[in-house]
């Protein structure tokens, strides 16, 4: 046996040592970008000025709290993650990090993020972050996700809290504007995830997660996407007439909601034969557009707040 083959044999026999990147992947970095951005907009749109460094720290702790929820979600859901193509390569089902390690990592970061956010800003913001983590991990992951087809609708609240936490970090409370930002993400989540469920066809079926596509069928899911998109459009345009809106926001909202509504109508008018013929092209486009939709709405809210602070706000 040559030296080279001996080394190879030794290496393959050694247990996998999780690297820093594997632990970072537990935090669901892509979801974290949404958390960071919406929390930042909540902080910017708030009528109370925050020291830039305190604001930076607040966003970081909110992001870490969101990441901790992701790690705890991966700990609990490792069994269903393993059978879904989209999630099978996550660190726990891939065997890179054990479930116990993911649990310990998530709990530690959750505790750290809540305590440090409380010390950096205020107790209300910390309590809201703690509730968000609890809601995502216990209410959504452990309870709703495997029990009801409304999992995404109610569970979407967890992803909708970050702008409220950002607002609370600055003001120490809740107001109509922060609730509207919450509502925007809350109403956006179901059509976003149902579009994904339509084109990741067999995944949720195999994992026996009661997504709407599994329990009520695909035509019902298409109908639900349209209904929620109509409600979302009314809400999103309505926000334009509040203190966090303005002409710039309104222009962005009218344009994006018109396009989003058209996408939802297109999805509603299709059936599975048409969708399979073009590999779910319309559904995939709608899903991608939903990402742009949310970032652009929150970007416009931030832009309105910045214009207003420069004295250029129109209402």
């Amino acid at each position: 046996m040559s030296d080279a083959s001996l080394n190879t044999a030794q290496n393959s026999a050694q247990p996998y040592e999780a690297g820093f990147g594997d632990y970072f992947a537990l935090l669901k970095p892509r979801v974290m970008t949404l958390v960071v951005f919406t929390a930042l907009v909540g902080l910017i749109a708030a009528p109370v000025a925050v020291h830039p460094f305190v604001g930076f720290a607040a966003i970081l702790f909110i992001a870490v709290g969101g990441g901790a929820s992701g790690a705890l979600n991966m700990w609990w859901d490792a069994d269903i993650d393993a059978v879904m193509k989209r999630t099978a390569r996550r660190p726990v089902p891939a065997g890179k990090v054990t479930g116990d390690e993911a649990f310990a990592f998530g709990m530690t970061l959750a505790g750290f993020s809540v305590v440090l956010l409380g010390l950096a800003t205020n107790l209300f913001a910390a309590a809201l972050l703690a509730f968000t983590i609890f809601f995502y991990v216990v209410i959504y992951t452990m309870w709703l996700k495997r029990w009801t087809p409304q999992n995404i609708v109610i569970g979407g609240a967890a992803g909708a809290f970050p702008p409220m936490i950002g607002w609370a970090a600055a003001t120490g409370g809740v107001s109509l504007e922060s609730v509207l930002m919450f509502a925007l993400v809350f109403m956006w989540t179901p059509p976003h995830f149902w579009a994904l469920a339509l084109f990741t066809k067999m995944d949720y079926d195999n994992a026996q997660v009661p997504m709407l596509t599994v329990t009520h069928g695909r035509p019902a899911t298409r109908r639900h996407i349209l209904i929620y998109t109509v409600l979302l459009a009314a809400l999103a345009i309505g926000v334009g007439f509040t203190a966090i809106g303005g002409p710039l926001y309104l222009a962005v909202a009218v344009y994006l909601n018109a396009r989003f509504l058209k996408g939802a109508v297109d999805i509603w008018r299709r059936d599975e034969t048409m969708a399979e013929a073009d590999s779910y092209l319309t559904e995939r486009r709608f899903f991608k557009a939903s990402l742009v939709y949310l970032f652009a709405h929150f970007g416009a809210i931030a832009a309105e707040a910045i214009l207003s602070s420069l004295g250029w706000g129109l209402w």
Partner: protein
């Protein structure tokens, strides 16, 4: 079992240890920065019992 300076375990764990070290240094810098930001705020007041000592 004593580990030599260049044991394979060191190489395999390097990224994790380096990452954790940087995170801890970052945490120290963050707490220091927050302290400076808080005490330099115009509204900052020392708690009463601290002032009397």
């Amino acid at each position: 079992m004593a580990l030599s300076r260049q044991h394979d375990v060191h190489k395999r764990r390097f990224s994790r240890n380096l990452g954790l070290g940087l995170v801890l240094v970052g945490l120290v810098a963050l707490v220091f920065g927050l302290t400076i930001a808080k005490v330099s705020d115009d509204n900052f007041v020392m708690p009463a019992e601290e002032e009397s000592t």
